[in-house]
């Protein structure tokens, strides 16, 4: 069996205590589900060709190294860090359509992932990143940075205020355009649950042509598209989009090890 076994996380037990714990409860982490995650090699996305590993991944029995991870607290979060419409104001409001992006971070059993750091970054309403190498001929917005962060609350919920990002061209193929998207980075409870992904918008006609999105197996694609929600929408202020995120969690089926 190549199941990942571990004694309960964070505590490093002495051998004696560990052998006792082994007979009581073993936690197995779910594997990465390659029926939803994109493969390394996806030739339509040209940069994968020279960067995708070619050899099979080597199985690794999880140890404390995999079942621990960095913890970030509220001291890392400033007042406007989750409000990209306010966190870079210099001389006025950022331009574009103000939106709310909110959702719940859970594991695969639906359990909330609490107090976990979410980092986001995105283009402005014109489809321009503030990044120095972005040469797209579209205007920068002096009042919009396009980066923010927050922690999930005790129920795994998070909320950002931002500006709807614009589409932008890229060099993958002729007339290639990235659909509107927001980049998300999450830690979860340990490094096995680390996730970097992109959130898309419902009904975007560019999705069907985008090899980054299409690299995701069909079964997983709808999980990356946020849903418009009227009850998240704030009257006379901003449209609301819900984007729930599911991180790898524990398989809790108990079994005997001895």
């Amino acid at each position: 069996m190549n199941e990942y076994q571990k004694v309960d996380r964070t505590t490093q037990l002495t051998d004696q205590r560990r052998s006792k714990a082994n007979t009581e409860k073993i936690t197995i982490m779910n594997k990465r589900d390659w029926s939803v995650h994109p493969p390394y090699l996806f030739p339509d996305y040209k940069s994968t060709v020279l960067r995708a590993p070619t050899k099979p991944l080597i199985p690794l029995k999880h140890t404390l190294s995999e079942l621990t991870g960095p913890v970030y607290g509220h001291d890392m979060i400033g007042k406007y860090d989750n409000d990209l419409t306010k966190n870079a104001i210099k001389n006025g409001e950022p331009l574009g359509e103000r939106i709310i992006v909110a959702g719940k971070v859970t594991d695969e059993n639906g359990r909330p992932v609490r107090d976990t750091l979410i980092e986001v970054w995105q283009a402005n309403a014109a489809g321009r990143y503030i990044h120095k190498v972005d040469q797209h001929n579209a205007p920068l917005d002096p009042n919009f940075l396009g980066a923010g962060r927050c922690l999930t609350d005790n129920e795994g919920n998070y909320k950002f205020y931002t500006i709807k990002p614009g589409a932008y061209p890229w060099g993958n193929h002729s007339n290639a355009w990235r659909p509107n998207h927001i980049h998300f980075s999450l830690f979860g409870n340990h490094i096995t649950s680390r996730l970097v992904t992109q959130m898309y918008f419902p009904g975007d006609p560019l999705l069907q042509y985008d090899p980054v999105f299409l690299g995701v197996p069909e079964k997983g694609r709808k999980l990356l598209i946020s849903e418009f929600k009227l009850d998240l929408t704030e009257d006379s202020f901003a449209l609301g989009y819900e984007f729930n995120i599911v991180l790898r969690g524990k398989n809790e089926t108990p079994f005997e090890t001895k």
């Binding site: 964070t10 490093q12 990465r32 589900d33 939803v36 995650h37 994109p38 493969p39 390394y40 996305y45 060709v49 020279l50 960067r51 995708a52 590993p53 070619t54 050899k55 991944l57 080597i58 199985p59 690794l60 029995k61 999880h62 140890t63 404390l64 190294s65 995999e66 960095p70 970030y72 400033g78 695969e108 059993n109 639906g110 970054w121 503030i130 990044h131 190498v133 940075l145 396009g146 980066a147 980049h183 490094i191 096995t192 680390r194 996730l195 970097v196 992109q198 980054v212 999105f213 995701v216 197996p217 079964k219 694609r221 999980l223 990356l224 599911v246 991180l247 398989n251 809790e252 089926t253």
Partner: protein, 190 residues
């Protein structure tokens, strides 16, 4: 085994513009980042201070200037998540003209009898799902010989996981990450 209720959210590439989102100060933007390449500043560290340096190389042997490396490690006594040593670092490869990532840290101690190692997560434009690898140390030959994870790797590929120690400019380890080719780095199914 019980079916899980929900599907994992699929991974996507970190793209070319992670720099101002995740590594802003390293790339000289003026907003804060949560982690950088220096794991020992502000910490009351025990143990040997080391530098880990490397390039990420593509299938043609060219260095990749838009990768992001994260490391996660125990302190010198082999403990994770201790209050005086965070153990987490993050570096982009785009600020050094030759694409080097550079971490200043302490050499980790052994955890539960494993050989000392640092866990590595690699992201980049062109990589739709991140990869995991580990850094072991060339001066730990005896411990490496006994390490269960290293022993599970084909002997011919093991060297890709071992950082080479040099003491020319302080203690420096070189750890290159080869995405493809004859000496492709071992990546783990973590």
């Amino acid at each position: 085994m019980r079916e899980n209720k929900l599907l994992q959210t699929p991974s996507q590439t970190v793209g070319p513009y992670f720099a101002y989102g995740l590594t802003s100060q390293q790339y000289r933007y003026d907003h804060a980042q949560v982690a950088d390449g220096n794991l020992i500043k502000d910490n009351n560290n025990h143990g040997e201070c080391i530098t880990i340096k490397g390039q990420v190389l593509d299938g043609e042997g060219n260095f990749i200037p838009d990768a992001m490396i994260e490391i996660w490690q125990a302190n010198a006594e082999g403990n994770y998540n201790v209050c005086d040593f965070k153990g987490f670092g993050r570096q982009g490869t785009g600020t050094d003209k030759n694409g080097y990532f550079i971490f200043e840290t302490v050499k980790p101690g052994s955890v539960n009898e494993a050989a000392p190692h640092i866990n590595v997560i690699v992201f980049m434009r062109g990589l739709l799902s991140h990869v995991y690898t580990r850094i072991y140390f060339s001066d730990e030959a005896a411990a490496n010989q006994k390490d269960e994870v290293l022993r599970s790797v084909d002997e011919k590929r093991r060297a890709t996981l071992i950082a080479k120690r040099s003491e020319k400019n302080g203690v420096e380890y070189i750890f290159n990450i080869r995405m493809q080719g004859e000496n492709e780095t071992v990546f783990f199914d973590v």
